[in-house]
């Protein structure tokens, strides 16, 4: 294959990755923004999403699409409920103290991981995609006959991958609408800006925290359900999303949602492209390096505001 079509293929892989990463990172970003909690267990909520998706799909009968749709609805809700419970049982008890919540969520990480290992086991388990047609992609060239549309052999994607990208965009738009158009979103933004004043105007901050922590984890789970037909569920799969989400949130600017999305696209796309042309390790090295430079030269992130 020529360079052009190859780049198109790599960009598509990157876009799928960016889509899932955007969902996961936005979840981490909302939790950090509103609650000032660095959730080290975020990747485990992602993993739980994938595991629950497998679980739900393996119970469902009939067409794979039925299991998948059930998983898409149930897995994020279950994960959200678990996270909300963790907020009430653990984070509230340490009074959302920044250092103690880091230690607490590290503990949560290991508990979730080990319980999953004991119940779900060490195998990687697949979930069937609801549909998976191969789609050949066109390319163009300027040959003897001038401009021509060609269909290079091997240049193609699947309908499911395109669906992942579209679904992620739809979910992100819904999150944006929730934050900017609903009462809960208003309460979340007010709590983020001034927790005490939020209370002085009747906002039940504890309830906002429970919802936000559940919501953030649910977004990670949603990303995982979307990717599990491509990647398989495994109890150690939470590490990469956690690292990448942190990278994205730092590059985008802590607490800035639009920055998070832009950074997710940047990191996801470059990760996809670099992984395909060179190696996945190089992709990770480069994005970690980028974080280091951002921390040195623009600590507030690309879109974040300088702390007053």
């Amino acid at each position: 294959m020529d360079f052009g079509p190859y780049l198109l293929l790599a960009s598509l892989e990157g876009a799928v990755m960016a889509a899932v990463l955007a969902l996961t990172a936005v979840g981490l970003s909302i939790v950090f923004g509103v609650m000032r909690v660095v959730n080290v267990a975020h990747g485990e909520f992602f993993m739980l999403g994938a595991v629950f998706a497998w679980w739900v799909a393996s119970w469902a009968v009939g067409h794979p699409a039925i299991g998948f749709v059930l998983a898409l609805v149930l897995a994020p809700i279950l994960v959200g409920l678990i996270a909300s419970a963790a907020d009430m049982i653990v984070l509230k008890r340490v009074e959302y103290d920044p250092e103690r919540t880091i230690v607490a969520t590290i503990g949560l990480l290991y508990i979730i991981q080990q319980v999953t290992l004991m119940t779900f086991g060490p195998e990687a388990r697949p979930v069937q995609p609801p549909f998976n047609q191969r789609l050949a992609l066109p390319w163009f060239e300027f040959g003897e006959n001038g401009f021509e549309i060609i269909w290079p052999w091997g240049l193609g994607t699947t309908s499911y991958k395109l669906f992942v990208i579209a679904a992620a965009i739809a979910i992100l738009l819904a999150v944006w609408a929730l934050m900017s158009r609903t009462k809960l979103g208003l309460y979340m933004r007010a709590t983020q800006l001034d927790r005490q004043m939020a209370q002085a105007f009747g906002i039940n901050v504890e309830r906002v925290y429970v919802s936000v922590f559940g919501f953030g984890a649910g977004l990670a789970a949603l990303g995982a359900v979307l990717i599990v037909p491509i990647q398989q569920a495994h109890y150690l799969m939470g590490g990469d999303p956690l690292l990448l989400s942190f990278i994205v949130v730092i590059i985008g600017g802590l607490g800035s949602l639009s920055g998070t999305v832009v950074a997710a696209v940047l990191i996801g796309m470059s990760d996809g492209v670099i992984s395909m042309f060179f190696s996945p390790t190089l992709a990770k090295i480069l994005s970690t390096l980028l974080v280091a430079f951002i921390l040195i030269f623009r600590p507030q992130g690309l879109f974040g505001k300088r702390a007053a």
Binding site: Q199, G202, V205
Partner: protein, 231 residues
């Protein structure tokens, strides 16, 4: 209406307020006077339930509100205009007002009435609060609190850094609310700005109430003012 009974409170281990007691009745303006660091803002926060009381109680219309979770306190009808305004900076003027309205489920009429008081806010509904001028920010902080249709209004240095015409506007609002039967607790540094409108003055020093006097008495006798606030 509002009564503090032997309130002790502070930040963490640091005890700031000691046996603070005073009351404000409907249609009355009580002014809290004291030097910087005397504990005026702390008193306001204790009333709002933002600080845990180690002793004492805050009673509103016979109900002890000091044991309520903080977000329940404003729902009983206490509007708070904090020192330094503390608006929701990245939210718009309209959203800040909306939060005030949601506190007690106030009606559209309340919103209209409040915007009637501050027409400049109506022109800037879509503007972010942090981009307002200082005077406009104070209007918004006041509007946000009035959106609760409060029975009790707490104002912490509302005239800080304002020009005379703006001070006049805020003062008119306070006097109007007094006429409407609202109990008002007002913290002020500028004694002359309050002496004419206050009914009673409470002097606070090192977190203790030193004296409570009628404003009329104070107007004729300046020795107390010299002693507690040094003017």
């Amino acid at each position: 209406m509002l009564e503090l009974k032997g309130v002790n409170a502070g930040y963490g281990a640091a005890r700031i307020l000691r046996d603070v007691s005073f009351h404000a009745e409907a249609g009355e303006i009580v002014c809290l006077l004291g030097r910087n660091g005397a504990g005026k803002t702390t008193t306001m926060q204790a009333i709002m339930g933002l600080l845990p009381l180690s002793e004492g109680s805050v009673v509103l219309d016979g109900e002890d509100i000091s044991r309520l979770p903080a977000h329940e306190v404003p729902k009983r009808g206490i509007g708070y205009i904090p020192q330094g305004r503390r608006l929701f900076s990245e939210l718009t003027v309209a959203e800040n007002i909306e939060i005030g309205l949601l506190t007690r489920g106030s009606s559209k009429q309340t919103r209209e009435a409040v915007l009637e008081l501050f027409p400049r806010l109506r022109e800037r509904l879509a503007q972010r609060a942090e981009t307002l001028s200082g005077g406009e920010q104070q209007m918004l902080a006041t509007a946000r609190a009035l959106c609760l249709e409060p029975k009790v209004l707490l104002l912490d240095e509302p005239t800080e850094g304002l020009q005379p015409s703006m001070i006049e506007l805020i003062r008119n609002v306070v006097v109007q609310k007094k006429k409407d039967g609202v109990a008002i607790v007002l913290v002020e540094q500028r004694v002359d700005a309050v002496i004419e409108i206050a009914d009673r003055v409470v002097f606070i020093e090192n977190g203790r109430i030193q004296d409570t006097v009628d404003a009329k008495v104070l107007a004729d006798d300046h020795t107390l003012l010299t002693r507690y606030v040094g003017v």
